[in-house]
Amino acid sequence: MSSEEKTLTARDLRVEFGLPGGRVARAVDGVDLDVAPGEIVALAGESGCGKTTLARTLLGLERATGGTVAFDGVPLRYSTRALKAYRRQVQLVLQDPTGALNPRHTVYDAVAEGLRIHKIHDDEPGRVAEALSRAGLRPPEQFFLAYPHELSGGQRQRVVIAGALVLQPSLLVADEPVASLDASVRGEILSLLLRLKEEQGLGALVITHDLGLAWSIADRIAIMYLGRIVEQGPVEQVLTAPRHPYTRALVSVLPAAPAVKAAVAEPIVLAGELPDASKIPGGCRFRPRCQEVASGNAAAVLHQCSGEDLHVLGPEAEPHLVACHLDRALHGDAKMAA
């Protein structure tokens, strides 16, 4: 898997921040992840779980304090030149398109910026026009002179995507690409990502708190909790038959129409909120909020839950992997087999 072409790989990735008072926040605490061209991977979790830090680290905007990020088999180096070359391949799409565009730059300049940075001077207008039309802004010439404030939210996000596409990257990292957009516009942007994947083999890592979004476009999903991936696998398996108690709770509280609700088990509303990344509990990090621990279902493995840290889940695409002592006791150890 990791040797495959143009794949973005993270191995045992760790990012720590020093906090005042000598405490250390472990924002990303051991993550293995692969994103290959032609697949959309959703990284889901609550705010504060480290998903944005993970994305920034994958893009080289943040330095990893441990583990490696590699692209196409080559580990990421942080020299200016190496980063610049890397960024032609892996591009970022930010959450808020209004902030991501300089209000003083026209659409043309915003899209051409990447070309200018990488000193690609041949046929600049042609490349900009092509990127805009690939992002669904047609006819592109009509948008050249527009300023961001003259566009709607959906159009702005398309401009941001066009600005990433103009460098012909193999992968996009999109941090909540539709969270700030109106509901009816969301689908259009997601369809665009899906079309780019299907028609041009673009891969994407989509960071989101919205599991519905993963259901709409992702092939695989990784659920993150306090700096670790706690469950990952194909979207159908993870979302329709979740095995980690945290994923089960997340899926159960999704609002759904009553007709559907009847088929879904009672919502499991976890008490409390995500702990601070500087106070990660020992043992299983989810234990203090775990409904299985609270209900006594996990009594048989409780000593492990409170004393034994779980393995970092492997990046394999196929098997459905779960970091849970109880699940391991029930389903056998998939990790050991791999």
Partner: protein
């Protein structure tokens, strides 16, 4: 009826001319009932909320009636209005951080409206009530001595709810009250809101862009587009079986996990909401509509009872839709 809008119209005067935000809305909320209002930014749903508490800017021209317990809020004197603002109706805003005073302990902020509106209450009694309210919304009473920045987003939203309940209002308006929250925290807050509605018998008007949230909490839902209500009915029905193409698109934007139809096909609409200064002729949704017929370009549809799919053309008075296609009993999605 606890709250009734009668042909409410709100127009903002701005540099680009007159901007109609609400264009003739009729709605009603009964005590103990929850009404959801769905729509996108700019559709007029927040203007509706602000109009109830007369919090609209000076540039707004308001016509029609807003009756709270039969009394027209738009005709009220300022003194009466001040009393109504906490005891009759209160509001929970989206940005709890901005709505709370950063340099005042939250206990005092909750007690403040009690002291202002109930002259007989002593500060000590108000403080005790504030603590009781905090416990009711699931926060320890000791939190009364905290400052807003010491709380998480979900806790602040709970404080906002406690504040809205401080003077035992008959009506609570929640304007995107859970939008900025995470899924799990949102579930906690929604559960709390549902409990409080049953327990206190207040009327709730809940405004959100997320039709799926409304369907989980509300009895009825109204969908707004370009300043008008385009569909109204039982919330779960509107979400699961929309009778207006716009509500159908809104529902599709929040797919039900496990629904094979939604897998790898994100729903959505082409185009953007119309510019309120230049609304299209006929039905204002027509430019984005996939099922529009000739008539839609000429006439603006009224909100009428529509037959529900599967009920053999029988119109259901509880379901109203402003769509000619739905009124004919035809499907509103391709």
């Amino acid at each position: 009826m606890l709250l009734e809008f009668k042909d409410l119209r709100v127009t903002y005067r701005g540099s680009r001319g007159r901007l109609p935000a609400v264009r003739g809305v009729d709605l009603a909320v009964d005590a103990g009932e929850t009404l959801g209002i769905a729509g996108e930014s700019g559709c007029g749903k927040s203007t509706l909320a602000m109009a109830v508490l007369r919090l609209l800017p000076k540039s707004a021209e308001v016509s029609g009636e807003i009756l709270l317990d039969g009394e027209d809020l738009l005709q009220m004197g300022w003194g009466r209005l001040r009393a109504v603002r906490w005891t009759g109706a209160s509001i929970v805003f989206q940005g709890a951080m901005h709505s709370l005073n950063a340099v005042q302990r939250i206990g005092r902020q909750i007690a403040e409206p009690i002291l202002v509106h109930e002259a007989k209450t002593t500060p000590a009694a108000a403080a005790r009530r504030a603590e009781a309210l905090l416990e009711r919304v699931g926060l320890p009473a000791s939190r009364a001595r905290s400052y807003p920045h010491e709380l998480s987003g979900g806790q602040r939203q709970r404080v906002m709810i406690a504040m809205a309940l401080a003077c035992d209002p008959d009506l609570v308006i929640a304007d995107e009250a859970t939008t900025a929250l995470d899924v799990m925290v949102q579930a906690q807050v929604l559960q709390l809101i549902a409990e409080l509605v049953t327990e206190r018998g207040v009327g709730l008007m809940m405004i959100s862009h997320d039709l799926s949230v409304l369907s989980a909490v509300c009895d009825r839902a109204a969908v707004m587009y370009a300043g008008r209500i385009v569909e109204q009915g039982p919330a779960g029905e509107v979400f699961a079986n929309a009778r207006h193409p716009y509500s159908a698109a809104l529902s599709a934007a929040f797919p039900v996990i496990g629904d094979p139809a939604a897998r790898m096909s994100p729903g959505g609409l082409a185009g953007d909401p119309p510019d309120p200064v230049r609304l299209p002729e006929g039905c204002s949704f027509r430019p984005r509509c996939a099922v529009a017929v000739e008539r839609c370009g000429a006439e603006s549809p009224e909100l009428l009872a529509v037959p529900v799919r599967g009920s053999a053309g029988v119109a259901d008075a509880a379901r109203v839709s402003a769509c000619f296609v739905a009124q004919e009993g035809m499907p509103v999605v391709l």
